[in-house]
Subunit: 416 residues, 2 copies
């Protein structure tokens, strides 16, 4: 059971957009036991698209195609599919009704001929209803390979995957069970981890694969397995995880599939019945945004202050200007004052604060570019640490966010 994902659009090949659709489709296919063999991105070019279809048909059982279904002249996927299937386009009544409904309810503009033409589908296709847009999906079969065409707009693609594509694949194919379990570690490099766990890794039984995914201060260890006996797959992976954790207990923080570090933090705060507030300077709201991306954050997150200008640190956060003068705005002392004061301002149990210089220029502080101070205020005191995260602005910010979560996570688990 193998699939290929073909994403169509010049915007991908010139780097104007990042292809996020493929990752979503791959995840969802994996969940129902379909492995993705290859992801191929091709231009809006008829010959190239036809070649990609041919190559995919040879290699896989399922081809998922996204993009090129819009109403404008640069959208050629439908006519190219018609050529590949030696078929013609016909109006689909149900699709047209759906378009009329969407236009009446949401677009509130007159229906143009190009909008009506969106209801054209291949005569050999099963039309898949798109509840969020005018481009229908299509399900086609050729020589034992299923071709599924979906729009490239991410939420339309997702709706069609969930409502139409995944149920139909599940019904049509007998599929194995695929399991991925990823351990999150923070603080040491992949070669050191590999050295530590090498005996365990060498003894991994056949169906289980290990991968190392390093990035900016953290390494993810992914165990993967696949087979038709679901219970055996789960038991096999769990046994290996149980043997692995003691080898990395000092750097292991949780499982990615269950939770990101901010979710692990959120769960722990909820369990402790404690709350957090945040004062951000150089991270500019990114810590708060990561926390509030998860529903349920209102249980433990009181709020945050983006104290970007010097004034706001003094006037709103009540950091003593003398302290800033004495130590500079990027200092452990100022970070600690920010953490403690934001804790009081929001009346939360914990306060987390960042102050730093992300570059490219030095700004208000004499600190080297890349310097970031992170402080944590708790009900029983405040502490801080200083780092240098290099010279690239966005990387400095991302590393500061990761480190803030790492330090805070250690703090709240220590308390247990």
């Amino acid at each position: 059971m193998k699939a290929e994902i073909i994403t169509i659009g010049d915007e991908i090949l010139i780097g104007q957009i990042i292809d996020t659709n493929s990752a979503y489709i791959a995840q969802e296919l994996n969940k129902i036991g379909v492995s993705v063999y290859q992801i191929t991105s091709v231009q809006d070019d008829k010959i190239h698209i036809l070649e990609a279809f041919q190559a995919a048909e040879k290699n896989v059982d399922i081809v998922v195609i996204t993009g090129g279904l819009g109403p404008t002249k640069d959208d050629i996927t439908k006519t190219t599919l018609a050529q590949y299937f030696e078929d013609t386009l016909v109006y689909d009544e149900a699709v047209l009704e759906n378009i009329k409904y969407l236009w009446k309810s949401f677009v509130k503009q007159p229906l143009l001929q190009v909008n009506i033409d969106q209801s054209l589908v291949l005569s050999k296709a099963i039309a898949l209803m798109n509840k969020s847009g005018s481009a229908p999906g299509m399900w086609l079969e050729k020589n034992n390979t299923v071709f599924i065409s979906l729009p490239g707009v991410p939420y339309e693609m997702k709706g069609l995957m969930n409502d139409e594509v995944l149920p139909r694949i599940s019904q049509k194919f007998k599929r194995p069970f695929i399991l991925h379990k990823t351990l999150l570690t923070y603080g040491i490099g992949e070669s050191i981890i590999a050295e530590r766990i090498k005996d365990w890794e060498s003894a991994l039984p056949e169906p289980i694969k290990l991968a190392y995914l390093p990035n900016l201060g953290r390494v993810r260890l992914r165990l993967s397995s696949k087979g038709f006996d679901k219970e055996a797959i789960i038991d096999g992976v769990n046994a290996q995880v149980t043997a692995l954790i003691p080898l990395i207990s000092d750097v292991f923080v949780g499982f990615e599939e269950q939770s990101s570090i901010e979710q692990i933090i959120g769960n722990q705060l909820t369990k402790l019945g404690r709350t957090l507030s945040i004062a951000e300077s150089c991270t500019g709201g990114k810590i708060a945004e990561n926390i509030t991306a998860h529903s349920g954050a209102s249980n433990y997150f009181k709020g945050g202050l983006v104290a970007y200008a010097m004034d706001s640190k003094i006037d709103i956060l009540k950091v003593n200007p003398e302290l800033i003068k004495a130590h500079s705005v990027v200092s452990n002392q100022v970070a600690e004052a920010m953490a403690e004061n934001v804790r009081q301002l929001f009346a939360s149990d914990y306060g987390l604060a960042t102050t730093g210089n992300a570059g490219p220029t030095k700004g208000d502080s004499e600190a080297e570019i890349g310097t970031v101070c992170i402080a944590i205020a708790t009900p029983s005191g405040v502490f801080s640490q200083q780092f240098n995260f290099g010279k690239q602005r966005l990387r400095v910010v991302q590393k500061a966010v990761t480190m803030a979560f790492t330090l805070f996570q250690k703090e709240i688990f220590k308390k247990c």
Copy 2:
């Protein structure tokens, strides 16, 4: 002059990571006149990788490969390249010196054999020095096709692209000039735009291509052209842009290549000498984060408050609890109070505020899931608007952020 990008790694094919490297590489290649023909993502599987190399060699002049160069057992790109080039691996002295330097300066851990082995390169390769990590890049040639192997860690890949790959390609190949110019529009759908500009589009001269890129309330229109006469290419595209803008002047806000909407806002605020502060509820810091992602934000951004809990709206933002009781926390009235009060709190010229219910549950408010109120306070008054952005949490937040920028951008350009 065509290139293919091959990204190697199971993590891409199972959807565990989004491949951002390809977009970066494609952008950079385009800037020096190299078109990307295809992007192919393949598993950590020797046979599959070899097939991808063969297919690419037939189609393109340059193959850029990322991933699979780490020190752990799942990394097989180097040995697979050695097989493809019928070559052996040899230690590179300069690379080894670099690794020793990195370990001494930053890693501060003993150098393991696996780290030393990172200095192995193909004997036929030119080693490309990686200043940020232990995996060197490699430049190889076979039957008039150049193969370039780069690490998958994004900042290491970027360093190698800029320091080594782009200069070498520029030197070796005669390249055309590629121009993309993208007009940002907000507020109307692609089919309506297409209808409005159809006469202009039909008359577009041969080398110029138009693409429509719709997403969540905005449509980007990209004009692309390519050729060896740089001046003629630029003049040709500019003439078309000049003809296009009057047709869409009510929805056109700027050019993407120069700036995102938050940069357009930042430039305008800097020009006006005015400042902004932000009070965010449902957007949780994401507006502030988008603004502070750009250097120079301290010229016009005073700071922000993430007023997530009800308390913080009342205690810190001083929103009258009676107002909340009368109209509910998700209301135009509360949004306007937040915008005006944050403006005063941070002593800025403008205040921008969001309050809404992103779901999945109703939370503090009786408002329907997806309801968001956005308010703008100016030196001369405050106004607001209410929206419904659907039922998916992250999409609601993203649409709210886009709409907040759209409304604010209209406001500050109106003032000119």
